[in-house]
Amino acid sequence: MITMNKVSKHYGSFQVLADCTTHVNKGEVVVVCGPSGSGKSTLIKCVNGLEPFQSGEITVNGVSVGDPQTNLSKLRAHVGMVFQNFELFPHMSIAQNLTIAQIKVLGRDKAEAEVKGMQLLDRVGLRAQALKYPGQLSGGQQQRVAIARALAMDPICMLFDEPTSALDPEMINEVLDVMTELAQEGMTMMCVTHEMGFAKRVAHRVVFMDHGRIVEDDHKDAFFANPSSERAQQFLAKILQH
């Protein structure tokens, strides 16, 4: 579904990504982790072309992201993305947040989009909030809406960039539950997250990054049992203490 081959990116002389090669198969859940500044967000934003990269190749469902001929908007419409800060559109009600792209991008009619939106709100347990505005919801609720908004586009895969790290601890689980359910239904997912419990339960593979490089790319059991690099061992030791 997603392939990356020797992707490199730099800002001036600063190398953000160096020869990153990995893939996400259909129905697979891949967790990306690593220390702050290691390039995780940059990597995941390259997948849907939000960040340009200078060399290497990325394909999503067979379409090359870096190819100037590619219609990126069309590609992105079917690649869901969830951000650390939710990024709901604050001037629209929750219902409008869920329908606007269905209508303006996919060309669905309003009634159809509304039905779809309500189904998904139901699914994340927020049907009652449809007429509220994002500023009136808690962080955890906003993030669940953001997931529903992405799902409303019938994505072929989902990208998550630290979806729980801006949340108060008591709200983390409500978001992880939604993500877990999605994974169990067979959604293809690439998740940047430090939630190692989630990774252990749900992920198929774990990618570990450091200084713009993919240092480990393992089956999750292998990763947690004995990471091959020292850097990943240290990282795990630190993060599992908490």
């Binding site: 934003k45 849907n48 939000l50 990126l72 908007s73 069309k74 992105r76 419409a77 079917h78 690649v79 993305m81 951000f83 650390q84 800060n85 990024e87 709901l88 559109f89 604050p90 001037h91 606007i100 792209a101 303006k104 991008v105 996919l106 509220k132 505005y133 994002p134 500023g135 009136q136 919801l137 908004r149 992405a150 586009m153």
Partner: protein, 246 residues
Amino acid sequence: MGYSWNWGVFLQPSATGDDTYLGWMLYGFKMTIGLSLSAWLIALLLGALVGVLRTVPSKTLSGLAMAHVELFRNIPLLVQLFLWYFVLPELLPKDLGDAFKQSHPVVQQFISSMVCLGLFTSARVAEQVRSGINSLPPGQKNAALAIGFTLPQTYRFVLLPMAFRLVVPPLTSEFLNIFKNSAVCSTIGLLELAAQGRQLVDYTAQPYESFITVTLAYVLINVVVMFGMRWVEARVRIPGYIGGGH
């Protein structure tokens, strides 16, 4: 002080005989309003466009937009007015220039003033719009693009609706400025409010009545604009939304 007040002066027939002095004042008032509103329309539309272009990825477009802002913001308003009124008609293609010069003097003055004030203010509006867009959280643009919006759709549905809410207060002061700046247009002979005030003094020697009235008229305009913009602000307020960018 030997000043003799005479508010009745406004009801006297004017020197030219076809109107009262109150009529003169009203003419100036209407001229100020008509000029300022039409210039504001230009400033708002053009300023929004230029402000948006200043934030787009294309270096050519944002460069052009920056040139527009620097040009119209940094040349003194009075100089710009003279350029539009005296110089531009000479530079136009001959037919157009002649047509302009043969039109009624009031039309010439009005059009020059409107274009001048509109462009001058558009540069200032553009700066407000640009800073409004730039103060939105950067993730908003990414979220809009990520869901499949094209760049124009991203501006239309996500960035501009929020940016405009943020810039209503600074735009209010630009809107007020355009009324005040319109007084400059009396220098090319346009008989707007301030000019009519001065004329009245020349003809009636009642400066206090005249300028008190002119001042009150400007105050009235200010009050109406401020209430209007407050109303707009309240209309577009978003439930639960606190503050600008984070």
